[in-house]
Symmetry: C2
Subunit: 364 residues, 2 copies
């Protein structure tokens, strides 16, 4: 569909670029949704229309990700940060313990919340390596007492990604906020998978949660209502008034992803986009540096530095002038970062790789 | 501004009707927000643009409601249901107690969550009166041990509204989900005021929370991060990635409300709309019945019944055919309910009152 919408390449880490077709649908469907005489955000969440949107969103997530039958699909307010705490509140109270892998900034937050509730055993700690590498998944063992093993499948800030997962009997609980829907995953190993929507799924303000019934069975009855997974499963994500707009957008993004070719397409494109950028780093190896172990480099967030902080800043500024935004590294680590989620067109990665060449030649 | 948008009168209890001007702005501002080459929901929450939207939303809430200086304004994910639990988790742990008023379906949920955390003393229980009346505010006393006294300023399902508030020294904690921004309130008496956005403020998926610094000072340090008010105050509603779309809409709704004349205008309109409907009930007193004590009838949710459940259903169905939706009473109580929040045009209330006349004449 030809469009005249003014559009720049948005490399933000999340909230981030979304499919233009989806955004145009939103504009088209405001303020009168499907001829009902009101917008989707004015409709009762108990209406047939909104219930249908939720069912469709859930069904598409289930189909695209091949979610096992004994795993529920939930859309919850509060985002992934809320899940950091909700998980231990449901599973670690009463002196229980879990294994955690410390892979960077996001794992750290999950660990901090778990420690306020139960006992945390670190089975991997990347601190000394400055979070540039991960353990061989085959080497990871869970302790006998661990209720679950937690990992962060992709560290958005560090640009570090698990390529495979531990082969253990203990259920894995995974924060997949920044790489869900970007590659096929066998969810049989997982007890809970959660993801803030604002990368590959939709807008900020909602978390996608996949949770096995066997985990739901462990939720204690004496939690406040909103914290209890069992309530949300029973209410089918409508135990309380849910974030309707976010789920509506998730439905549209899932439709878009399915039409494109689903997870296989997403993986192919993620591989292509990230290869373009890592190749550019490699071509100018004396100029750009990617600190991440080659085995665990993320296909979603490519981090790199130039020879100086001043040149990093110049790179970000000049890229913006060339229609590429959001390339500044996270304030905690500096450098540059290109977040290339599902909705980033391959043209965006090509444009950035070309600019990297040009910038290195002019400043190297 | 003349418009050709197909529009019906939406009497839903929430999510509910929003100002058409705001919805048209959303459509206009998608997919390219302010010429930035991306939509508002694709922007980093750390960007100047989104930070500016949050500051403006907060500032407008503060101005419109005359929020005291020592009270923070927060926008949090999870809605009011999450606040039911977050409040006792912050204030009642360690054997503390609070006073609650039981005024109906929403108070009941707040009470249930508080009981899982601390001790609840009911200082008013409307159960025997079937939640059709409230205590004289001047008669309400708080216990010596109560950390706070909780009330539900407007019961959306019961159509019952506190017209004034207890004159006590104990801080009042109030669920104002369904009538905030509809009348001037002296917030000095209140420790926490919370409101799901989806009635008078914006779309579902966000709660507005006003909280005194003296209450924040009581929050324990050993809570999971998302539960701790102190974190959200410190992060200025961005301790985690917030529901950006909701806060953007809240900003637009607040701008609309300010342009209309603010809270004084909102109160005047709420009085006019509700009077039109209560007058219609009164005109056909043998046909329509409003069970609520006249002193406490809500200006936001007008509940009434016809002589039979069959006629109630017929009323709802025929009203829909006349372009008025959402008039079915909550499934827990039956009957009819007209929710008439700030964005309901006076023409909607006039149309409904006219239809009530007509329906009573034809079926009485």
């Amino acid at each position: 569909m030809p469009t005249t919408t003014h559009r720049i390449h948005n490399f933000s880490a999340g909230p981030c670029t979304l499919p233009l077709e989806v955004l145009e649908q939103v504009a088209d469907q405001f303020p009168d949704y499907a001829g009902e005489g009101m917008s989707i955000i004015e409709m009762s969440h108990r209406s047939k229309t909104v219930a249908g949107v939720f069912e469709e969103a859930q069904s598409l997530v289930r189909e695209l990700l091949a979610v096992p039958e004994d795993m529920h699909v939930l859309f919850l307010g509060g985002g992934a940060t809320f899940q950091f705490g909700m998980i231990p509140m449901n599973l670690l109270q009463g002196g229980k313990s879990a294994d955690y892998t410390h892979s960077g900034a996001w794992a750290k937050k999950a660990i901090a919340d778990a420690k306020t509730v139960g006992t945390v055993n670190l089975v991997f700690d990347g601190t000394d390596a400055n979070f540039t590498t991960l353990p061989d998944p085959a080497s990871v063992r869970a302790g006998d007492d661990a209720v679950y093993l937690h990992l962060t499948s992709n560290e958005t800030i560090g640009g570090l990604q698990w390529k495979d997962f531990p082969a253990i009997d203990t259920p894995i609980v995974a924060d997949m906020s920044s790489d869900i829907m970007s590659r096929p995953i066998d969810f049989e190993k997982f007890g809970i998978v959660y993801a803030g929507a604002q990368k590959n799924i939709g807008p900020a303000g909602c978390a996608l949660v996949l949770i096995k019934q066997s985990v739901v069975d462990q939720c204690p009855g004496d939690l406040i209502n909103y914290l209890n997974y069992a309530n949300h499963v029973k209410g089918q994500s409508m135990a309380n008034t849910p974030p309707v707009f976010q789920v509506y957008l998730i439905k549209l993004v899932m439709e878009w992803l399915k039409a494109k070719g689903g997870i296989a397409w997403a993986k192919d494109m993620a591989d292509q986009r990230s290869q373009l950028l890592y190749d550019a780093v490699q071509r100018h190896a004396g100029f750009y540096t990617c600190p991440v172990d080659e085995r665990y480099r993320s296909t979603m967030n490519v981090v790199f530095t130039t020879p100086s902080a001043d040149l990093d800043a110049k790179f970000v500024e000049e890229a913006l002038a060339h229609g590429m935004s959001g390339l500044k590294g996270h304030r905690s680590v500096g450098g540059c970062r290109a977040s290339i989620y599902n909705a980033m067109p391959i043209e965006g990665a090509k444009a950035l790789a070309g600019f990297m060449d040009d910038f290195a030649q002019r400043n190297g």
